[in-house]
């Protein structure tokens, strides 16, 4: 079964059924006076607050950081232009490779565990007939817990001593205590586990909302054809959700590529650099490597990350254009 039918081919431009551009009636050029008379001024006034806020707090920092990536500055003395030196320095940093590998590892693990889980839970919950609101609230609860509190809580869970919470539970079934955050091998999966717990609730709610839009007659038809529950999920639910799945996937890739909170608060990048991620490296450039802060190098790496993510998103949408509903 194919996911969707091919969209109808676009009519060739300049074909018989398309009127030539020259034959379109010429658009009247509107003068400033008519623009004002047409309510343009009040539109602008209404727009102004938002434009100001975006300019001051959003676009201007983006432009400034791009400029800063070409400068050396300590935020006090006048900055000096260094061209692409910051980019060269960042690319030559031996820790960059480690950070990229760790970030990709985090993203893959998060994709493996974190992506299917909310879909699975949402599908299960959609089948629940009673107390659906209660289950939704329960699933969403971790999202409500402030992230720093969640990390502190999980630090207690991950206590590596035999009396730690998780280790005690493992002890009940005869599994020896695990080092969790205290070993290069288990630190990153431990971060992914907490991150999945923290973020799944939001995704579940989105999937639940999307599931409501699946026409019930599709299920009725499937039932008439004798479909099992898994056949219904595979042949009805998932194809109906594919639009939202595509968007959620790219959002997750972008979010996991920018993971910072967990490695910063749980391990500080350790042990032995096993959880240094790209954003943690950016943070270190800006605030830790030297007291003046290498803001130029930090922004250079940020710009590179932004470009890579933008390219990745573009590529993703190009590759999935055929299957996407949007």
């Amino acid at each position: 079964m194919t996911l969707t039918a091919k969209p109808p081919a676009a009519p060739p431009s300049g074909g018989d059924d398309v009127p030539p551009a020259a034959s379109a009636p010429p658009r009247r050029r509107r003068g400033i006076r008519s623009w004002v008379r047409g309510g343009g001024l009040s539109t602008l006034v209404f727009l102004a607050p938002m434009l100001i806020v975006f300019t001051v707090f959003s676009w201007s920092p983006i432009v400034q950081s791009m400029i800063m990536s070409l400068q050396k500055t300590n935020l006090l003395d006048p900055p000096t232009w260094v061209g692409l030196d910051n980019f060269v320095h960042v690319l030559n940093d031996p820790l960059l490779g480690t950070a990229v590998v760790n970030t990709v590892y985090f993203a893959l693990l998060a994709l493996l565990f974190g992506f299917p889980l909310p879909i699975f839970v949402a599908v299960l919950m959609s089948e629940v007939r009673r107390a659906k609101g209660f289950y939704s609230a329960l699933a969403y609860l971790p999202v409500v817990v402030p992230p720093v509190v969640a990390v502190l809580l999980w630090k207690v869970f991950y206590d590596a001593s035999p009396t730690g919470l998780f280790n005690t539970i493992l002890g009940w079934v005869g599994i020896p205590p695990q080092p969790w955050l205290q070993s290069s091998a288990t630190a990153m999966p431990s971060l992914v586990l907490e991150a999945t717990w923290a973020a799944a609730g939001g995704a579940i709610i989105i999937y639940l909302a999307a599931l409501l839009s699946v026409p019930p007659e599709l299920y009725d038809a499937a039932e008439v054809d004798g479909a099992t529950i898994w056949q219904k999920v595979w042949n009805v639910t998932l194809p109906q959700l594919r639009g939202i799945l595509f968007i959620m996937l790219i959002l997750q890739v972008i979010a996991t590529a920018q993971v910072f909170l967990e490695p910063y608060l749980f391990t500080g990048g350790g042990p032995n650099n096993a959880t240094v991620t790209i954003l943690l490296l950016i943070y270190r450039y800006a605030f830790q490597n030297s007291l003046g802060g290498d803001y130029g190098e930090a922004t250079a790496l940020s710009v590179m990350l932004a470009i890579v993510l933008a390219l990745l998103s573009w590529l993703y949408f190009k590759l999935t254009e055929r299957w996407s509903t949007s």
Binding site: R37, G39, L41, S42, T43, V45, F46, A48, P49, I52, V53, V56, N74, L75, L76, D77, P94, D159, A160, S161, G164, P177, P179, L181, Q182, S183, S184, T267, G268, G270, P271, N272, N273, Y283, R284, F287, Q288, N289, S290, L291, G292, G293
Partner: protein, 452 residues
């Protein structure tokens, strides 16, 4: 869209927006005509008594200097946020920074020149010259050294007793520390010994242990260049020592991601038998981490092979962004709050009395920033107010004068400490860690940093 009402609402919205933005940039000028001086107080989380004591001192100062309005600001030195606080204007006008960071701050132009003011106050020549060097660039001085410490071995007397050890005769050699750590771990289930590993403190402590074992991680070539000597025998010996404690004795507990704050927290909670840190940490342990004073013991870190005790400390500095009037007020405050209690009997007694009345630590062992005689004399002035258990610190107080103080490395100190964090973490978390290879790599990376 054209209705006058719509236009009026839109205009009002825009006006409110512009007004709000303008309000954001408004400054905080003093209405009373006094010079407002924002000064660093304690890290967030200090107990209420600390603020009570500070409020009292603030009142005393303002009585003597009615033209200055002191505003206490919660402050904790953190390299990562310092530059942003400075640029964002949220840094106090007077704050303290560690010796290790003063050179970098000097190079970055982030400290105010106070040479003339210190000369005028007349105590330029009274400072210990080695300590004053930390805040000098040529013949200009950029801060007031106000407190120094030597490295000490902090131990939990209660855990010692529970393990059957005598808390009055703490270990004096590295081997004895190992033995004691093993006993504590076996008898109490707590970490017998622990080492910091995170946020540059792993490198700091490895450097201190290297100095104690007669080595050094860096050579100052005297011409502004430095040579990394990380791959030396003393550093290697200490890493092997940590490896043995971790993997052979299992006496380091289970948390190998600790920094200054978290190791203090763990120690105050009674989970660590011994750890090494600055000798002045007692105040923070009691004030910020609620340590039970009865648990506390302090001795010197063992030295061998001609080694010494790594010293450090902090300096009171003025933000480079303040105007002349605020700078003058800042110097007056630093002299009153930090310096006079080291020099003048009345000031020392007033300070000690105020702190003691608010249950703040008085008499924590430090190294003198002036000379030893003045320091010991000042202890006699404040003797009635000393409330820290100095008898539990006797091994340190008596032993520290026999140890040679060693300064911290000056070239790219914090960056190199950060590199060494990873080495310490690797040794503590990987049983098969290749110490030689780790040190060779760290040495090469450190040299690359020093050559930049």
């Amino acid at each position: 869209m054209k209705s006058p009402r719509t236009v009026a609402i839109a205009g009002l919205a825009a006006f409110a927006m512009v007004g709000a933005l303008a309000a954001c940039s408004a400054g905080g000028a003093s209405d009373s005509g006094k010079t407002e001086l924002r000064v660093a107080t304690f890290p967030p989380g200090a107990d209420e008594a600390a603020y009570t004591a500070f409020a009292e001192q603030e009142k005393q100062f303002e009585k003597e200097h009615p033209d200055i309005d002191i505003i206490g600001v919660e402050y904790e030195w953190e390299g990562p946020t310092f530059a942003v606080q400075l640029a964002g204007g949220s840094l106090p006008d007077v704050f303290t920074v560690p010796f290790t960071d003063s050179k970098t701050l000097l190079e970055n132009g982030q400290l105010m020149d106070v040479t003339d003011e210190i000369d005028e106050l007349g105590y330029t020549d009274k400072f210990n010259p080695i300590i004053l060097d930390a805040v000098k660039d040529g013949d200009r001085i950029y801060g007031f050294p106000r407190q120094a410490y030597a490295m000490g071995l902090h131990y939990n007397r209660t855990l010692f007793e529970q393990a059957g050890l005598d808390p009055d005769t703490p270990p004096t050699t590295w081997d004895e520390i190992r033995e004691a750590a093993k006993t504590i771990s076996e008898k109490t289930g707590k970490a017998g010994f622990m080492e910091m590993t995170q946020n540059n403190t792993g490198g700091w402590q490895l450097t201190a242990a290297t100095a104690a074992r007669g080595g050094s991680i860096q050579e100052d070539n005297g011409d502004g260049t430095y040579t990394s000597t990380i791959a030396n025998d003393a550093t290697k010996a200490h890493l092997q020592y940590l490896h043995d404690l971790r993997w052979e004795d299992n006496s380091l507990g289970s948390n190998f991601l600790l920094d200054w704050g978290t190791i203090n927290q763990e120690f105050a909670a009674g989970n660590i038998g011994m750890y090494s840190s600055g000798s002045d940490v007692y105040t923070a342990l009691v004030r910020d981490f609620s340590l039970n004073p009865d648990d506390y013991g302090l001795t010197v870190v063992p030295v061998e092979d001609g080694g010494g005790t790594l010293g450090g400390g902090d300096i009171a500095v003025v933000s480079p962004t303040v105007d002349d009037e605020t700078k003058a007020a800042a110097v007056t405050w630093i002299d009153w709050y930090y310096m006079q209690k080291l020099l003048d009997e009345d000031a020392a007694v007033l300070d000690a009395k105020t702190l003691a009345e608010s249950d703040q630590a008085v008499g924590t062992p430090v190294l003198p920033v002036l000379d030893r005689e003045t320091y010991e004399e000042s202890l006699t002035w404040i003797e009635p107010y000393i409330n820290v258990p100095r008898d539990q610190m006797t091994p340190f107080i008596e032993g520290v004068w026999d140890q040679t103080p060693v300064g911290e490395p000056k070239g790219k100190t914090q960056e190199i400490y950060a590199l060494l964090d990873t080495v310490v973490q690797a040794v503590l978390t990987e049983e098969n860690a290749d110490i030689d290879a780790l040190l060779e790599q760290a040495d090469a990376d450190a040299q690359a940093l020093l050559d930049e």
